[in-house]
C-alpha cells in the first residue's frame, strides 16, 4: 500500500509542483495595504464603440472627480461582439461587467432569464430623477412584467432623412406638379413616398437609399413601411398578423421602391452603404436613425459640400420603428449600489442635458423642449421632430425571442426582395416561423 502511494506520489509530484508554481505566480505579491472598504470600487462597463460612447466617456471624467470612491473602466467594442460578451458575463459566477448596455430586442430575454437586477428601488430612492420624463415608448422598453430593468441610454428611432434642397428646387417642383398633379412635398404616405422616389429616379438621382440587407436591417426598415400600411407584427392579443393585407401591401410597395428607385445591386446594403449614398449626393431620401441628420449636416462631416442640405421628418405614415439602448445592472455583480450611482448620475436630468448638448441622442422630454439645448445643440426644429418621432414610435420587436424573430423575418423579407420568393410566400413563411418561435418560448 505504502509503495503504491509512493508511486502515485511520484507520478503526480511534478504536476503538483507545476500547478503550485503557477498558482503562486498568480497570487498577489503583497497583502492589501488598506481594508477593503477604503478601496475605491472599480466598475467595468461594456460599451458599443459609437460616438455616443465618446460623449459618455467624457462626462464620466466628471463623475469620477465627484465620486472619488468609484472608478470606471470601459470596455468598448463593436456591436457584433457585445451580446456574446454580455451573456458570458451573466453566466460567470462573478460578473465581468458591473454596468451593461442592453439593446431593445434583448431586454425581455435578459430580464426574464433573471440576468438583470431590478432598478425600481434605486430609482425611487434617487431624488429628482423623474423617470416619467423619459419619452414613454423609450421608458416602456426597460419595463418587463411590471418591473424596471433598464433606463434609457440613447434612442435610435428611425426617421425620413431627405435632401431638402432637391425638394425645394423650383425646377423639380414644376416637373413633379406637371407629372403628378400635386406639389412636390415630403411624403406622408407610402403611395406618396413611392411616387417621390420614382420621380427623383427619373431626374437622375436615386429616390431612396434602401437597406434591404438580410436579417436585422431589412426588418428594421420594412417595419416602418408595415406601420405606414396599417399593419404590425402582432395584434393586441398577440396573434401574428404580419401576413395580412397590410403586410402584403407594405412588402409589395417596398419591393416596388427597391426595383424602381433604389440603387442597383444594393440587395446587401445596410446602414453604412445607405449613408454613403446619401452623403455622396447619390440619393434623395433614406429611412435611417434620426441622429444621422446632425452627422450629415456637419460642416466637416461625410457629406462635404452638401452639409446643411439635409432635413429630418417623421417616416411616411407617422409611426416610426423605435430602437433604443438601455443601461442595466447584471444580477450577478457585487457592485450594484455603485453601478446605480453611476447610471443614476449619468441619466439624471441635469447630466443627460449635458450629454445631449454634447451631441448625444436625446431620451428625455424636458431636454428636447429645453431652449438651451436647442441653442447649443442642433436647433429647435431637430429636437421637436425627434420628440414627435419618439412619441409615436414602437419597438422593433419585444418578447423573449425578439432577436430570433427579427433575424428570421428579415431573412424571408430579403428573399422576397431578391425575387427568390413571392410576397405571399415570404410573408406566409415568416408568419409561420414567428408562430413556431413563439410556441417554443
Amino acid at each position: 500500500m505504502k509503495t503504491q502511494l509512493r508511486s502515485i506520489y511520484k507520478l503526480f509530484a511534478p504536476w503538483l509542483l507545476v500547478v503550485a508554481l503557477v498558482l503562486s505566480a498568480c497570487a498577489p505579491m503583497t497583502a492589501p495595504a488598506q481594508p477593503p472598504s477604503a478601496q475605491p470600487v472599480t466598475l467595468t462597463v461594456i460599451m458599443e464603440q459609437v460616438p455616443d460612447y465618446d460623449i459618455v466617456a467624457e462626462l464620466t471624467k466628471r463623475f469620477e472627480a465627484e465620486h472619488p470612491d468609484v472608478r470606471i473602466r470601459f470596455d468598448p467594442m463593436p456591436y457584433d461582439a457585445m451580446r456574446d460578451k454580455i451573456l458570458t458575463s451573466f453566466l460567470a459566477p462573478q460578473a465581468t461587467y458591473d454596468v451593461i448596455i442592453v439593446d431593445n430586442p434583448w431586454m425581455d430575454e435578459f430580464a426574464k432569464a433573471g440576468f438583470l437586477a431590478p432598478l425600481d428601488d434605486y430609482i425611487a430612492a434617487q431624488e429628482g430623477y423623474n423617470l416619467q420624463d423619459f419619452v414613454e415608448p423609450l421608458r416602456a422598453i426597460g419595463e418587463v412584467d411590471g418591473q424596471l430593468y433598464g433606463v434609457p441610454y440613447y434612442n435610435y428611432a428611425l426617421g425620413l432623412i431627405v435632401r431638402q434642397d432637391l425638394f425645394d428646387d423650383p425646377s423639380n417642383q414644376e416637373k413633379f406638379q406637371a407629372e403628378y398633379g400635386r406639389p412636390l412635398t415630403i411624403p406622408t404616405t407610402l403611395e406618396e413616398y413611392l411616387e417621390v422616389g420614382q420621380f427623383f429616379m427619373a431626374q437622375g438621382i436615386y429616390g431612396a437609399a434602401m437597406q434591404p440587407q438580410r436579417g436585422y436591417k431589412v426588418f428594421e426598415e420594412w417595419k416602418n413601411w408595415l406601420y405606414a400600411a396599417g399593419g404590425n407584427l402582432m395584434d393586441a392579443e398577440g396573434n401574428v398578423i404580419l401576413d395580412n393585407e397590410a403586410g402584403q401591401k407594405a412588402l409589395e410597395m417596398y419591393i416596388e421602391m427597391y426595383k424602381t428607385a433604389a440603387p442597383p445591386n444594393s440587395l446587401n446594403w445596410g446602414f453604412d452603404e445607405a449613408l454613403r449614398a446619401m452623403a455622396a449626393g447619390e440619393a434623395a431620401t433614406m429611412l435611417s436613425y434620426n441622429w444621422m441628420l446632425p452627422t450629415l449636416n456637419k460642416a466637416d462631416g461625410p457629406a462635404g459640400d452638401l452639409a446643411g442640405a439635409f432635413a429630418l421628418y417623421e417616416p411616411p405614415g407617422g409611426k416610426a420603428v423605435l430602437g433604443a439602448w438601455h443601461w442595466a445592472i447584471p444580477a450577478n455583480t457585487a457592485n450594484k449600489d455603485a453601478a446605480w450611482r453611476y447610471i443614476g448620475w449619468l441619466t439624471s436630468p441635469a447630466v443627460d442635458k449635458e450629454r445631449v448638448i454634447l451631441g448625444g441622442a436625446p431620451i428625455r422630454t424636458s431636454v428636447m423642449n429645453d431652449p438651451e439645448v436647442w441653442e447649443k445643440g442642433f436647433g429647435r426644429e431637430y429636437y421637436e421632430t425627434v420628440l414627435r418621432i419618439l412619441e409615436d414610435a414602437e419597438p422593433l420587436a419585444r418578447g423573449q425571442s425578439a432577436e430570433e424573430i427579427i433575424n428570421e423575418v428579415g431573412t424571408y423579407l430579403n428573399s422576397a426582395v431578391a425575387g427568390e420568393m413571392s410576397v405571399a410566400e415570404a410573408l406566409s413563411a415568416a408568419a409561420a416561423k414567428v408562430r413556431e418561435i413563439l410556441a417554443r418560448s
Partner: protein, 298 residues
C-alpha cells in the same frame, strides 16, 4: 545480493509502465480539450439546453435530431456548404496543380514566385472577407468599377452569384496552399519513370496522365482531404460579407449553427446540428477514400 539496477522492475513501473506515464500529459490534455467538449456537446444535443436557461435543462432524447429532418434552413445550409466545398476545392485543385507543375520546372526566380504566391494563405480569413467586401462592393469596389468601365455590370453578391463569389474568394486565398502541397509531392517523385518514358517517346501529356497522376495519388488525396475539411468550416467570409444572404443563398452550415447556438442561444439544437455535420463530413471522407483506393487498385 541485490540484482543489477538495469534489470530491476520496481513496483511503480509494473503498476503504470513508463511508456504510459510519458503519454499521460498528452492524454490528459486531449481529454480536457477534445474528449470532454465532444462528450459535453453530445450530452447537450440530447437536452433542451438554452444558454438563457442553464438552470432549467430538460432531457429531450433524440428530439433535436428528429426535428432536423424537416428543418428546411438546416438542409439548405448543408446544400450551400457542399456546393461551396465542391466549387472551391475543385478549382483550388485544378489551379494548384497547374501552378505546381509550372513551378516544378526549372523556371528562373521560381523561389521568389513561390513565396509571392503563398502570401494570401498568411492572411487571416476574416481580413480576406473584409478586403473582398470592399473590393467587390458595388459603390466603392475597384473590381465593379473596372468592369463597369468596359460595360460589364456584375452584382457579385446578388442571389445568383453570391455563393460563387464566396467560393472564388476561397480559391484566391487557398490555391497557394494546395499548390504547396502538390509541389512537395511533385518534388518527391522518383525521376527514373519519367526518364524511361522520355526514352520511350512519351509526350508531356502522356507522362502526366500515366506517371505523374498515379504516383501523386496519395498526395492528391491528402491535399483534397485537408482542403475539404477546412472548406467545410467556412464561416468568416459569410460573416464578413453576406451574413448568409441574399435570403439564405449563402448561409453555410457553420454560420447556421452559429446563428442557432450563439444568436438564439439554443445550444442543444446547435450541438445536434454539429453532430449531424460531423457525420456528413465523415461520410465524405469515407467516399473520397473509397473512390481513390478503387482507382488505385484498378
Amino acid at each position: 545480493m541485490r540484482p543489477p539496477l538495469l534489470h530491476s522492475r520496481s513496483v511503480d513501473e509494473t503498476m503504470i509502465p513508463f511508456k504510459y506515464r510519458l503519454l499521460l500529459p498528452m492524454a490528459v490534455t486531449l481529454a480536457a480539450v477534445l474528449i470532454y467538449p465532444l462528450l459535453f456537446s453530445l450530452w447537450a444535443s440530447l437536452h433542451d439546453y438554452r444558454l438563457t436557461a442553464v438552470g432549467d435543462v430538460r432531457w429531450v432524447g433524440l428530439e433535436h435530431y428528429a426535428a432536423l429532418a424537416t428543418n428546411r434552413s438546416f438542409w439548405n445550409a448543408m446544400r450551400n456548404t457542399v456546393i461551396f466545398v465542391a466549387v472551391a476545392v475543385g478549382l483550388e485543385f485544378a489551379l494548384g496543380f497547374l501552378l505546381a507543375i509550372l513551378l516544378h520546372r526549372a523556371t528562373p526566380f521560381r523561389h521568389v514566385f513561390r513565396a509571392l504566391l503563398l502570401t494570401p494563405a498568411f492572411i487571416t480569413p476574416i481580413a480576406v472577407g473584409l478586403i473582398f467586401r470592399f473590393l467587390l462592393n458595388s459603390q466603392l469596389g475597384v473590381i465593379p468599377h473596372l468592369l463597369r468601365s468596359v460595360g460589364v455590370d456584375v452584382d457579385w453578391f446578388g442571389p445568383n452569384l453570391a455563393l460563387f463569389s464566396l467560393a472564388l474568394i476561397d480559391v484566391w486565398q487557398w490555391t497557394p496552399f494546395m499548390m504547396l502541397l502538390l509541389l512537395a509531392g511533385l518534388e518527391a517523385l522518383p525521376p527514373e519513370p519519367f526518364e524511361a518514358a522520355r526514352v520511350d517517346g512519351a509526350t508531356g501529356w502522356q507522362a502526366l496522365r500515366h506517371i505523374t497522376f498515379p504516383l501523386m495519388r496519395p498526395v492528391i488525396l491528402a491535399s483534397l482531404l485537408i482542403r475539404m475539411l477546412d472548406a467545410f468550416k467556412v464561416y468568416e467570409y459569410v460573416y464578413a460579407i453576406t451574413r448568409g444572404g441574399p435570403g439564405e443563398s449563402t448561409e453555410t452550415i457553420q454560420y447556421h449553427i452559429y446563428r442557432v447556438g450563439f444568436l438564439y442561444y439554443r445550444a442543444g439544437e446547435a450541438a445536434a446540428m454539429a453532430y449531424v455535420l460531423m457525420a456528413v463530413i465523415l461520410l465524405f471522407v469515407v467516399v473520397l477514400f473509397y473512390v481513390v483506393r478503387r482507382e488505385a487498385t484498378s
